[in-house]
């Protein structure tokens, strides 16, 4: 028998091209007659647009046009980034695109951007999200009504918003959405709990920091089809957004998702309306490429959040109730925010007898909110997991045992009101318990500590389809429209190979576009392997049925008595009676051939969630004199369902943990009181450089997802969630201080040490 494909580490299928520079990214494509567009960004955080003076820019040699919102063939009013890609009359954040300079060369466009003069009538900038909520406060948007966020809201998790209720809190018009989740009498239960801990936690705007800045190219085919070649997480969602923006029928829009140079949630229909609008207006191909500085200012980072949290427990460690008030800074995003998901995830993977959780989505003049790996999750986990640690101290219980005692198991009802599916919260904590780092936590040198934290991601769902096609040479081509954001194509190859009976190197995975491919949603929400992977599995099964039907005729053996091993169909128990997949395919794919092409179509519509949970251990050393935190080691244990390819799973776990280290120690987009971005470059905005990320020990825990392909579940988002609180808890263990704000920079740590006298 051939060895199983599933569970074996293999290199990514896209690795050789990427390593050798053969991959063509979205900015690399040659398009005849291409024009280059550069953005004129607002210098004001909040203002009325008075006038855009373009004559000087138009005089720059090579400049073709200077476009404003009125020049784009936009279909609807709306004030989201799709329907208002360039500000119409009101600018709502510094960095918002207000005009597009289009030229024959990038250099000409760049020169001309400087020559565009924009006149503004400044309005008060709303930058303090808590203040912005109060009745009577200045509004972050005074003129326009929102037209709704289209499809983008549901991509990352698709959670419910909790129940509506009639209680009226006095709030300003900046509060765009409120979420209320409650069950039981949390207030009363907290009053009678043996131990109660509380705190207010602040987290900043955080940039996705993908390697490849945002880019899109658009052109019109002679038949008036609008073609958009872009760096995006989703082709079909982009197609729908463009249809909404320009009032075009779907069939007139073809979106090609090019190989992605990183996205992490940030690449969903920001640049395409700009490139497409310019191409439609000028009837020439137009490419928009952001510089890094523009990408910092003009895109859609993760929102800042303030979380007021209180939790209680009985003396024996049983959790009683959780009360939270969570304020989410949406910036200019009127369409959607993370108040829904963060108010769900703040309860963590634990059982509560009562909860009272409120979430608020508040507009300000800071960016446009967008998704970033586990939207709303790291912020919630920082608050909850810090307090869980404090609770353990108050109760004089081991922090791991406290979590374990309260960890959810299948069918426990969460604050969503729904029972938890099978999820390995207990299993990952048990795995951590025996790790040498956890065992050594009480015998470390001075100023060192080990911290623990856990968090889960519910996982998303979206119907998807796939095609598995066997070629004349017996190899297989898997066709999906999923964007390979995290190695999913390599997983598809393994799923198809194992299901059909090929070796993985006989399987190619290609990404189709909206004109040619089976349906797939955007890559996000940790759902691609779980949903598209399931469709690939079914497509491979369908192809295998056709193969066996043909082989049965050839070999005169019933299909049930045949097996497929490494590209050979053979009789079970009599391997000499065999025929290769290539031979059968050769008989099908030819003039006068006698079999249907060996090709299968498969679809999935997952209805149950497959949440993934991860627990982190961080080992930190604090320099009491400078406040600097050094990470000495990091451990992550994650329930991944089934590791289709352990090397890739570990890569996701390490990458997530590294980005969590960024949340913990480095990353912070800061505005001044006028809404001007102060940390808009990598000279000011720190990310976790390789030299600052310690070795990350990955512990794969497999609690199979009943509906997942081979038990696999989405794993991309879970590993980022609880890294920051694990580090915060390590700092507390090292030097006895609790930071309530991320990132834990050296000056903040020092100041907190000074205040505490520790």
């Amino acid at each position: 028998m051939s060895e199983s494909v599933i569970g074996v580490s293999r290199p990514r299928v896209d690795a050789p091209d990427k390593v050798t520079g053969a991959t063509h990214f979205a900015a690399d494509g040659h398009v005849h007659g291409l024009l280059h567009a550069r953005l004129v960004l607002s210098t004001e955080a909040h203002a009325l647009l008075q006038r855009v003076e373009r004559d000087a820019a138009l005089a720059v040699p090579g400049v073709v046009a200077v476009l404003t919102a009125d020049d784009l063939p936009l279909a609807s009013a709306g004030s989201d980034r799709t329907t208002e890609p360039l500000a119409r009359t009101e600018v709502v954040f510094a960095g918002q695109p207000v005009a597009l300079v289009v030229a024959e060369s990038e250099a000409a466009a760049e020169d001309a951007v400087e020559a565009v003069v924009v006149e503004y009538e400044p309005l008060p900038a709303v930058v303090d999200v808590e203040d912005a909520m109060l009745p009577g406060r200045a509004l972050a948007r005074v003129l326009e009504e929102d037209a709704g966020g289209g499809d983008l809201e549901s991509i990352h998790a698709g959670v419910d918003k909790g129940q509506e209720d009639g209680e009226e809190e006095q709030l300003s018009g900046n509060v765009l959405d409120t979420v209320h989740r409650n069950a039981g009498d949390a207030t009363a239960l907290l009053e009678t709990s043996d131990v109660v801990v509380s705190g207010t936690f602040r987290t900043p705007w955080v940039y996705q920091a993908y390697i490849e800045p945002q880019v899109a190219t658009a052109w019109l085919e002679p038949n008036e089809t609008l073609v958009v070649s872009t760096s995006t997480q989703g082709s079909f969602v982009t197609q729908r957004e463009l249809a909404r923006a320009f009032g075009l029928p779907l069939e007139r829009i073809r979106v090609i998702a090019e190989p992605l140079g990183g996205a992490f949630g940030g690449k969903l229909a920001l640049m395409e309306p700009l490139a497409a609008g310019a191409a439609l207006a000028l009837r020439r191909p137009v490419r928009v490429v952001l510089t890094r500085a523009e990408d910092f200012q003009a895109t859609n980072p993760a929102s800042a959040q303030v979380t007021h949290l209180k939790i209680g427990a009985r003396k024996d460690g049983t959790l009683t109730a959780i009360a939270a008030r969570m304020i989410v800074d949406r910036g200019s995003n009127a369409g959607w925010g993370v108040e829904g998901i963060t108010s769900l995830l703040v309860a963590g993977p634990y059982r509560w007898e009562a909860h009272e959780i409120r979430g608020y989505g508040v507009q300000t003049n800071r960016f446009t909110f967008g998704a970033y790996r586990g939207p709303g999750a790291p912020t919630a986990a920082f608050a909850l997991e810090t307090l869980m640690d404090e609770l353990a101290v108050e109760l004089e219980l081991d922090p791991l045992e406290l979590r374990l005692q309260n960890a959810v198991v299948e069918d426990d009802v969460g604050v969503s009101g729904n029972p938890f599916p099978r999820m390995g919260a207990v299993e990952v904590l048990e795995r951590i318990r025996t790790h040498p780092l956890w065992q050594s936590r009480d015998s470390l040198p001075d100023n060192e500590g080990v911290g623990l934290a856990a968090g889960y991601w519910p996982g998303g769902n979206e119907p998807a389809a796939a095609v598995c096609r066997v070629n004349q040479d017996g190899t297989m081509t898997v066709v999906t429209s999923a964007v390979d954001m995290s190695g999913v194509n390599t997983g598809f190859a393994a799923i198809a190979a194992e299901t059909f009976g090929l070796s993985p190197d006989q399987v190619r995975v290609v990404a189709a576009d909206t004109a040619t491919g089976p349906y797939s949603g955007a890559s996000g929400g940790s759902k691609v392997t779980y949903t598209v992977g399931k469709a690939v599995l079914k497509a491979a099964e369908a192809a295998r049925e056709k193969l066996l039907a043909a082989a049965s005729e050839e070999l005169e053996i019933a299909p049930a008595d045949l097996e497929v091993v490494d590209g050979v169909v053979r009789a079970v128990g009599a391997p000499d009676h065999s025929i290769t997949v290539a031979e059968i395919s050769g008989k099908a794919l030819r003039f006068g051939g006698r079999y249907e092409p060996i090709e299968g179509h498969g679809g999935s519509a997952q209805t149950r969630g497959a949440p993934s949970v991860a627990a982190h251990l961080a080992h930190a050393r604090v320099d009491r004199e400078t406040g600097e935190i050094t990470l000495l080691a990091h451990v992550i244990a994650q329930d991944v369902g089934r590791a289709l390819n352990p090397a890739l799973v570990e890569g996701q776990m390490r990458g997530g943990a590294a980005q969590g280290i960024g949340w913990a120690l480095y990353e912070e987009l800061v505005h001044d009181e006028n809404g001007q971005l102060l940390t808009g470059s990598f000279l000011d905005y720190a990310i976790p450089l390789a030299e600052r990320v310690p070795d990350i020990d990955t512990l794969i825990v497999e609690v199979p997802a009943p509906d997942g392909p081979f038990g696999a579940k989405g794993i991309g988002e879970a590993p980022v969630i609880a890294a920051a609180p694990a580090i915060a808890n390590a700092v507390a263990a090292a030097v006895g201080i609790r930071l309530r704000e991320l990132p834990m920079t050296a000056p903040r740590v020092w100041a907190t040490l000074e205040e505490s006298g520790a």
């Binding site: 940390t679 000279l683 000056p747």
Partner: protein, 264 residues
């Protein structure tokens, strides 16, 4: 903009005589500010091909060519001795490997970023900076060289050709900084030299408008009035003042350990 690549020093100096001409060495400071359109030279005098490199050690002094890169400083065997250890230690903490392969000693000193590292080291080591103009050569001490943020004694048509460090046998030196996590520039950096006769020098960088030498008996924490310490959102004045004391003490301790041979 014109780009010239002279092959002799005289040609370079001739090129620099043009109004708004700028010398380009490793390009690690000039190119970023040009990219941001903060500096727009009329002529870019690319001095990369001039013979201005090299580490030259004699009995009583070390001469470093202006085009010596950080990487060369970091890996030069001659700089292993305790008296000069601060040079390699400082160079190894600048930027990343790519920057250290291109960035030069002379370029950095001429740029005089108030948070750059090497000015503190040349001050503490008592270096002399050799400047060359078409009219001739002059030498200024490091103390005379730095005048303020991005401002030095270097004339518009002058080039740094080399930096000369006196060798004090038996001394020890060190450079310690706390860096900004994004830029890697010093929030506070201290270079220290300890001599067998009991004398010592400490220079600080990153604190204000320029690197400066502390008076020999000054406490770094008290040496500066608040108004002269740079404070920002990330690192307020109070924190920088505190850091100055920490890095100065650590640099002195390490320099002393090197002098006494008790370092690791």
């Amino acid at each position: 903009m014109e780009h010239v690549r002279p092959s002799t020093l005289d040609e370079a100096l001739e090129g620099l005589a043009a109004p708004d001409a700028k010398a380009l060495a490793g390009g690690q400071s000039l190119l970023p500010v040009m990219k941001l359109r903060i500096v727009r030279p009329s002529v870019l005098v690319d001095i990369g091909r001039l013979e201005l490199g090299g580490v030259h050690m004699s009995e009583n002094e070390l001469r470093l060519g202006a085009l010596t890169t950080w990487d060369e400083l970091e890996s030069a065997q001659e700089l292993g001795r305790p008296a000069l250890a601060a040079l390699a230690e400082c160079a190894s903490g600048i930027g990343d490997l790519q920057v250290r392969n291109r960035g030069t000693l002379g370029g950095s000193l001429a740029h005089a970023d108030p948070a750059s590292d090497m000015p503190a080291v040349v001050l503490a080591l008592g270096a002399q900076i050799v400047l060359r103009a078409a009219s001739g050569e002059r030498t200024v001490s490091a103390e005379e060289f730095f005048l303020g943020p991005f401002t030095t004694a270097l004339g518009p048509a002058e080039l740094i050709t080399e930096v000369v460090f006196p060798l004090v046998e038996g001394s020890g030196s060190a450079y310690v900084k706390v860096e900004h996590p994004a830029s890697g520039f010093a929030l506070a950096g201290a270079a220290a030299v300890v001599r067998p006769d009991g004398g010592q020098s400490v220079a600080l960088t990153g604190m204000g408008g320029q690197a400066f030498l502390l008076a020999s008996d000054a406490d770094p924490v008290d040496a500066l009035p608040d108004a002269e310490i740079y404070g920002d959102r990330f690192a307020p004045v109070e924190y920088r003042r505190h850091l100055a004391g920490v890095v100065a003490r650590r640099a002195l301790d390490r320099a002393r350990e090197r002098m006494e041979g008790t370092d690791e």
